[in-house]
């Protein structure tokens, strides 16, 4: 139960960060990717702020804690090297990101704003996940 409440709080804080940074505004994200037009560098600052805080926390925890507070081990992603799946998947994701101005986190937050097109995006995103689960998961 503690774990579930804690995860909820993490989701809330993460979303507050996205709203404050205006990453829940797709036009803002498109502005960052619009390098040949009217460029808005804000997203680089969002990443910079997030990277600094997370990086500091991660590297200090690596030295001190043996396990997280609410679980029995740290679940770091295994390193599989740089594979074609990594590159192809990221290229596809990026194209969808640019087409819409949405990556998964901001889409789930702004789904709460009420615009039907965001719900359409989230349903399609779930469809993409399911399509992968049905076809591509063997490639992992």
């Amino acid at each position: 139960m503690n774990k579930i409440l804690f995860a909820f709080a993490c989701g809330v804080l993460f979303a507050i960060g996205l709203v404050v940074a205006q990453m829940t505004n797709p036009a803002k994200v498109v502005g960052f990717l619009d390098v040949t037009g009217a460029w808005d560098p804000s997203l680089a600052f969002v990443m910079g702020g997030a990277l600094t805080v997370f990086g500091f926390a991660y590297w200090s925890s690596q030295r001190k804690a043996a396990k997280p507070v609410l679980d029995d081990h740290f679940d770091a992603p295994p390193s599989r090297g740089i594979t074609w799946e990594l590159i192809a998947g990221s290229l596809l994701f990026g194209f969808g990101w640019g087409l819409s101005g949405f990556c998964p986190g901001p889409a789930l937050v702004s789904a709460g704003f009420g615009d039907v097109r965001v719900w359409i995006f989230v349903v399609a995103m779930a469809g993409g996940v399911v399509a992968f689960n049905l076809t591509g998961s063997k490639a992992r």
Binding site: A27, T36, V53, F54, P68, F93, P104, N133
Partner: protein
């Protein structure tokens, strides 16, 4: 190239807040706060992990709803894409993040913060095609 709508302070502050959320997720749960991973594995119905993943996603959506109720039109939101564009984009984001094992949060923030070479490559890839997509929209008069 011109610079427009640049908001460095709110970007830094928001980034630091979501970085703190990712740090708490790591310290508390021992998990990477990668949204595509949390969302994707929710749809793989990994029993035993459904609770915290659902709770995390619920936290995201609840903030959207509360922010809209509390601040209304003051929450900036501008979307210049039609329904079919959103369908295509959603499919690409859903499939691509699963194949590539991460998105802006998992690779862009957490992976880069961990100095993972995989995440650095992934981030360069999705930023590149993101820029290509926006360039294509601009050329096509859709922006």
């Amino acid at each position: 190239m011109t610079i427009a709508n640049f908001t460095p302070w709110s970007a830094l502050a928001g980034g630091a807040i979501l970085g703190a959320a990712a740090a708490l997720t790591w310290w508390g749960l021992g998990r990477i706060a990668g949204i595509s991973n949390i969302f994707g594995r929710l749809l793989r119905f990994e029993w035993g992990h459904m609770g915290w993943r659902l709770a995390f996603v619920a936290g995201l959506v609840v903030v959207g709803i509360v922010a809209k109720l509390a601040f209304g039109e003051r929450i900036a939101f501008e979307l210049n894409a039609g329904a079919w564009q959103m369908v295509l984009a959603g499919l690409l984001v859903g499939y691509g993040t699963q194949l590539g094992n991460g998105c802006t949060s998992g690779h862009g923030v957490c992976g880069m913060g961990r100095l993972s070479p995989r995440s650095i490559v992934a981030t360069l890839c999705f930023m590149a095609t993101g820029a290509v997509a926006v360039f294509a929209l601009r050329q096509g008069g859709l922006l």
